[in-house]
Each structure stands twice: as structure tokens, then as C-alpha cells.
Amino acid sequence: MLDVNGVQKIYRGKDREVEAVRDLTFRLEEGELACLVGPSGCGKTTLLKCIAGLLKPTSGSVEVAGKAVTGPPRDMSVVFQEYGRSLFSWLTVQGNVELPLKEKKLSKERRRTLVTEALEAVGLADSARSYPWQLSGGMQQRVAIARAIAYEPRVLLMDEPFAAVDAQTRADLEDLIRGLWQRFSMTVLFITHDIDEAVYLGQRVLVLSSSPTVVQDDVAVDLPAERDQLTTRSDQRFTELRARVYSEIQNAKNGQAASAPAAT
């Protein structure tokens, strides 16, 4: 469903070049929920923008459902890291969720159904007429998620969506995402820097190295499909997986630390 082939991205400034990601290759099957972890600044957002067709990779390619990505793909939605700025403050919650559907040229009835359904799914049916800035951070993030699912995407990309909310809200939102994923059967790529979150949410965890960024490891999460904040997180297997991902990230860092003095 989602194919990332040898993606490299170099930002070219005036007199400076930043190689944000070096060589990323992985593949998500239809309906898969994969988490992508990596240290801050390793190029997760950059990769997401390449997949979303907002940035052109310097080399390599991305395919969604067998079609090469050259611009934003029609059946993909993105939830951005900065959800506050991603919501349009001049539109109501309903307006925000509905705007992409208007561009999809859906009928008014169909739009209304999708908006209502999406807002209900994230538990915000009562706030449809509010403005995003009248809501709490966690609610705003749910609006962004509602907008994404109302678009009926086959692929959903999320960039550290819960980085800025408190622990309790975060746990609720994690369960919300798993619920939505099961209900709407989308392919989900969930970016986070939180190892616990990655293991708890994903069927698979892709570990990125620190810069120069490559895929360090690809861990299958063989936890039961029904997950629960309390029991899953205290599961023996959860702890093992978490330790594995953790040590891979450490390896990635050490690998770089070991090679850095040699380079200078």
C-alpha cells in the first residue's frame, strides 16, 4: 500500500546543506498500523512530507497504492505535529472537517454525514459549532483527527500527534486511534519519539537511526490485537519489545558516536 524506496532528502540552503534523511526503504501492507520512532531531528517530519507529496525527495521514490507520489495523493490524510496551526481558526470545528470534503466535490448530504460521523467517532459531536481556539489542546487534536478520517483516506499519516498533550489525554487518544484504525480499516503510519507509545499502538515499529538517517530496525509487535492501557503495558512481552526498541535506538546513537571522532 505504501512503498518507500531509497528516499533521501537534502535541504539546500544558501551556503549550507542538511541531509535530513539518507536512505529509507520500507513498505506498509494494506491495513497495517506501523509506528515510526526515531530521535528528535532525525528527519521523521521530513519523511512524512515526502510521503505526503509536500516535499520532493532528493532521490528515491514513494508509491501509494502502486502510484508514484508527485503531489498530495487523493486518498491520504495527514495529521500534523503542530495541530494548533493546522486547524483554521476562522472556521468552526465543523467547517474545518468539512472543507476538504468540499474540495472533493462531495454532495452536501454526504458531507454532512461524514462530518457528523467523524466528530462522533472522536467524541466531539457537541463541539461542532465551536471554534478550534475555544477547545482544549486534546480536543483540538481530536478535531484534526476527525478531519483526517472524514476525508476517508486509505492511508493516514500522523506526525507526533500527541506530543503536546498530558499523559491521561494521550492514553485516551492512543486508544482512540486504535479504535478508528480497526473501524475504518486504513493503513496508518504513526510517527512518534515515544518508545512506549510506538509499541503500544503499532503492529510494527520502524526504528530510525539518528542522522544520517537510515532504517535501523523493523520490529514486529506480536501483542494481542485487543490492547488495554493497563494490562498491555504491564505485559511481559510489552516490556521485552520496549527494551528491544530502546536498545536499537541506543545502538543507533552509539554507532554514530563511535564513527564521529573517526570522521574528524
Binding site: P72, S86, W90
Partner: protein, 287 residues
């Protein structure tokens, strides 16, 4: 992009309008309540001083008639049809000029602002044309249109155009990249993004431009009538002055001042209405 001397070019920063759209903006300094009382008391003191100064002989009453006399004259004028015709002419020149300037500035501003190359290409020309005082165009206006209303329009349009145009340029440049990427990721095309993202983002700037432009337009409308003699309050002032009717001159000045205040109040009300979602406005209610 801006030269250091162009601070008037971006009144959006500072107290006028938050450049980032995230700071409290206009209106916040004028809440009602005790401050309103203080303001009324201040005006009363001013009027009292104006009344006393000529009466005690501190200022010659020939040059400054006491407030009561001026206000009485104004009151009498309000009953004269000719006065209202002059008000109408002034407002027509002002409103029409502002409307033309607005349409031109918004259209051009959006086109030029959305194409960086075009913006750079025109920047130096704009920096040259913008500071030309509108009054310097008076001889040209007379040459072209005589005392016709078009003379007034020329000056009004020229002066208010730049106020709005510059704001539109800043507004178009101030679109949040995350908002823009969001729109793009949901497949919004160029026109849809202008309509749903760029326009609302630029709106606070546009309205600041309108407020500044409206004030300047009124000044220029009266100036044109005063110096060129096109019909309106300005011309009335000139006539009263040549007739030696000092109190009437003051009365008409007070009338133009009142129109200025009304214009400003009107535009601010418009801002509050249109920008009810914007931090600068909603801060007053919510915070």
C-alpha cells in the same frame, strides 16, 4: 524586503496588528468602564478650557471663538440643507475613492503577493511611489480634472491605495506554512487555497489597511476640496474663511473631526465583526 525607513509601511507590527496574529491587537487599549468616564472627563475639561480661554482674553476671541459659540454655529448649520449636501459630497469622494483604492489594492496585492518574483520586481518602484505625498499631485489633478469630483478621487485613491496595498502584501506573506501545507495535503488547489486560507489569513491586515486608508482618504478628500475647490466640506471651510466667519470655520472643522471619529468607529466595528475569530478581537471577550 523592507528598508529601515519604512516603519509606516508595516503598522501591522507593534500596537496596530500582531504580525504573527498571536498578540493582542487593536481596541484592547480602549475598554469601556472607568476609562470611558476618564475620557469623558478629559473632553469636558478640554471644552471648558476652550470656553474660558477666549472669554478671559487669554486668546483673542476673533481667532478662537469660545466653544459655546462654535457649537451653536454648528447646531445652526445642521439645519441648513447646503451643509448636508457638502457632507454628502465629502462622504461620496471619500467612499468612492476608498472603494476604488480597496478593489485595486486587494486585487493587485494578491496577485503580486502570491508571486515572489513579481513582488521583488515591483518592490523598488513601490518604495519610490509610495512616499510621494498625495498633495503633491494637486497640480496634476487640477490640470487633468479641474474642480471636478474626479480631482478629489485622484488624490483620495492615490493616498489610500498604498495604505491598503502594503498591508495586503504583508498579509499574503503571513500565511502560516502549516495551514498552507494542511490545505495542500487535502488537495486544495491554488484558487481554493487563496479563498479558504490566504484570504482569511490576510484579512486582519486588509482591515488594518482599510482603517488606515479610510483615515487618509478623509484627510485627502477635505484637502482636495479646500485647495482645489471641488465641492464638499473643505470648500465650505474655504468659503467661510474668505468671508471672515471664524466661528463657522471652526464649526466645519469640528464637523470634519466628527466624521473622522465616526469613520474610525465604523471600521473598528467592522473589524470586530469580521475578525471575531482572530486573536486580536476574541482576546477582548475571552481572556
Amino acid at each position: 524586503m523592507t528598508t529601515p525607513t519604512t516603519d509606516t509601511a508595516r503598522p501591522t507590527t507593534g500596537s496596530q496588528r500582531p504580525a504573527e496574529g498571536r498578540v493582542r491587537g487593536p481596541g484592547a487599549a480602549f475598554p469601556f468602564g472607568s476609562n470611558a468616564l476618564l475620557g469623558i472627563a478629559g473632553s469636558a475639561c478640554f471644552l471648558l478650557l476652550w470656553e474660558i480661554a477666549p472669554r478671559t482674553g487669554a486668546v483673542s476671541a476673533t481667532y478662537l471663538p469660545p466653544a459655546s459659540e462654535v457649537l451653536t454655529t454648528l447646531g445652526e448649520r445642521l439645519l441648513v440643507a447646503g451643509f448636508w449636501v457638502a457632507v454628502g459630497d465629502t462622504l461620496a469622494g471619500w467612499g468612492l475613492g476608498l472603494a476604488i483604492a480597496f478593489t485595486a489594492a486587494v486585487t493587485l496585492g494578491f496577485v503580486v503577493g502570491s508571486v515572489p518574483a513579481l513582488r521583488t520586481f515591483t518592490a523598488s518602484t513601490v518604495e519610490f511611489l509610495r512616499p510621494i505625498p498625495s498633495v503633491a499631485l494637486i497640480p496634476l489633478a487640477i490640470l487633468l480634472y479641474g474642480t471636478d469630483i474626479r480631482s478629489t478621487l485622484l488624490l483620495v485613491v492615490y493616498a489610500s491605495f498604498w495604505q491598503i496595498y502594503i498591508q495586503v502584501l504583508y498579509g499574503v506573506a503571513d500565511v502560516d506554512p502549516v495551514a498552507d501545507q494542511t490545505a495542500r495535503s487535502y488537495g486544495l488547489g491554488r484558487l481554493a487555497r487563496i479563498r479558504y486560507v490566504v484570504w482569511p489569513s490576510a484579512l486582519p491586515y486588509v482591515l488594518t489597511g482599510v482603517r488606515l486608508g479610510a483615515a487618509v482618504a478623509l484627510i485627502l478628500a477635505v484637502t482636495a476640496q479646500l485647495t482645489i475647490g471641488s465641492p464638499g466640506l473643505g470648500q465650505e471651510i474655504a468659503v467661510a474663511q474668505s468671508g471672515g466667519a471664524t466661528a463657522l470655520v471652526y464649526a466645519l472643522i469640528v464637523a470634519t473631526g466628527a466624521i473622522g471619529v465616526l469613520v474610525n468607529v465604523g471600521v473598528r466595528a467592522l473589524e470586530r465583526r469580521v475578525l471575531h475569530w482572530h486573536t486580536s478581537v476574541r482576546g477582548e471577550i475571552a481572556a
